[in-house]
């Protein structure tokens, strides 16, 4: 269901009431003054010529999976959540990219999102997901002790920041949407996964959070979620001028179905 409202009702912090496992769908009306439900920080006005969307992101395990019980674990198997057997923690899944793509482009200007990668002398254990929107800048700062040649040769998304000396910072503008690994000539593991969104209305979230976009162009739009490993849902919404909508997107293998 796709519900919208020009709304004048009072603020109400109701984000926590969203079903944690419901399919991608608009939940219900989003009063203008209730947009603060995302962080429950009080009302935030929406300009009459703009619209808002509150997007809740949930990460869910495969339907039917019950940790422990369905695996038949015994007490002696307790270490089976460590090392290679470490399980996905859906409750605290991080690095979920969410972006809103207005249908047919947008007449509303918004600055492109920029991203930053900081290199240190420490190895990169889990490459972070860094968000940049098309036209935005990716900067890389070297706080380590070695000069590093930073690049990507991904098809259509190649970047070459050259040799970055300790203490130096360089940047490059990213012109095409997509995802690529940012590499260093001196490290085997990637420095970061760079996600370039086609739209500047984009954020990186953790599971269980509600994201607020309050400067969207009114009209039809599609809200997307993305995670490096897990499939994620997209949903179409309709955004009224001066009002908004709420929806929930699910990240998890069931999103493939």
């Amino acid at each position: 269901m796709n519900s919208t409202s020009p709304a004048r009702s009072p603020s109400r912090c109701s984000a926590a009431r969203l079903s944690p496992v419901s399919a991608a769908a608009l939940i219900r009306f989003l009063p203008v003054a209730a947009l603060a439900l995302c962080g429950c920080q009080g009302p935030q006005p929406i300009r009459a010529d703009l619209a808002a969307a509150a997007v809740r992101v949930e990460a869910v395990a495969k339907s039917g999976y019950r940790e422990g019980a369905s695996d038949g674990y015994t007490a002696s198997d307790a270490p089976l959540n460590a090392g290679a057997f470490e399980r996905v923690d859906y409750g605290s899944l991080r690095d979920i990219v969410v972006w809103v793509e207005p249908a047919g482009g947008s007449s509303v200007a918004r600055a492109a999102a920029n991203g930053e990668v900081v290199l240190t002398a420490q190895p990169v254990r889990t490459p972070p997901v860094v968000l940049v929107s098309v036209g935005g800048a990716l900067s890389v700062e070297n706080r380590g002790s070695l000069t590093e040649e930073v690049y990507s040769v991904a098809e259509g998304l190649a970047v070459n920041l050259g040799a970055i000396a300790p203490g130096e910072k360089r940047q490059v503008t990213l012109e095409r949407p997509g995802v690529f690994e940012l590499l260093s000539s001196t490290r085997a593991a990637p420095l970061a996964t760079i996600f370039v969104t086609p739209s500047p209305w984009a954020m990186v979230s953790a599971a269980g959070k509600t994201l607020l976009f309050n400067d969207l162009p009114p009209g039809a739009a599609t809200v997307h979620a993305w995670h490096l490993r897990l499939p994620a849902e997209s949903a179409k919404i309709s955004l009224p001028a001066g009002g908004g909508a709420r929806l929930q997107l699910r990240v998890g293998v069931d999103a493939l179905d």
Binding site: G72, A84, F85, A154, N160, L183, R229, D254
Partner: protein, 209 residues
């Protein structure tokens, strides 16, 4: 290891060792040999070399026996498996302990979800489009692998010294192509001709520009 899976695993290992069972069977095939090099020696782990037929109508025999892929120890083994379009992979749950797996992929070449399954069970996937298919398990966060689907049965994973040999290649015109699991260099595509009983030598230099 589950004994029921051992023969299949052995067969899979044999197929995986040659990475090219069908390429060895045609008696009149040619041979393609060479070496892949890059700026930094030892910088080419998990690099695949394969042939793409320029004749779009060309058809090649594909092994019908499924290739087994182990998940014991919450690891895909092999972590990089190369198959030909039309081949089937059997994903074994060969855990010795009561551990479920849920293999899936969201890769465009083959999105699939095998669901939850227990030790002693297996599920099959037919790979019918070329390209990389990244594998994950929805339960285990570090369980990642990849099946690279070659458009022809003529492929190899290059050795530590960069050398490769494709045997029994059907005569014809091909693109000799590279694919890297972690793309450190631009992939190359070089046109070659393979003749019956002949040997074609083609070295490949990978660069960043």
């Amino acid at each position: 290891m589950d004994q029921r899976h051992r023969p299949l695993l052995l067969l899979g290992a044999l197929l995986g060792a040659s990475q090219n069972a069908m390429a060895q069977s045609p008696p009149a095939g040619g041979r393609v040999i060479g070496r892949v090099t890059a700026v930094a020696p030892g910088d080419l782990p998990e690099t695949v070399i394969y042939l793409n037929a320029l004749d779009a109508a060309a058809r090649f025999a594909v092994p019908q026996q499924p290739i087994a892929l182990s998940q014991a120890g919450a690891q895909f083994s092999p972590g990089l498996l190369v198959v030909s379009v039309g081949q089937t992979v059997e994903f074994l749950n060969d855990e010795p302990r009561p551990v479920q797996h849920n293999v899936f992929s969201k890769s465009p070449a083959k999105p699939f979800d095998l669901g939850l399954y227990k030790p002693g069970e297996s599920r099959r996937v037919l790979f019918d489009r070329p390209g990389p298919v990244h594998l994950h398990c929805s339960i285990h966060r570090n369980m990642d692998g990849v099946v690279f689907v070659s458009p022809t049965p003529f492929f190899a994973i290059i050795g530590a010294d960069g050398r490769f040999a494709l045997e029994g290649v059907a005569p014809g015109e091909y693109e000799l192509k590279t694919w890297q699991r972690r793309q450190r260099y631009l992939d190359r595509s070089l046109r070659i001709r393979v003749t019956a009983g002949g040997e074609t030598r083609q070295d490949v230099e990978l660069t960043r520009k």
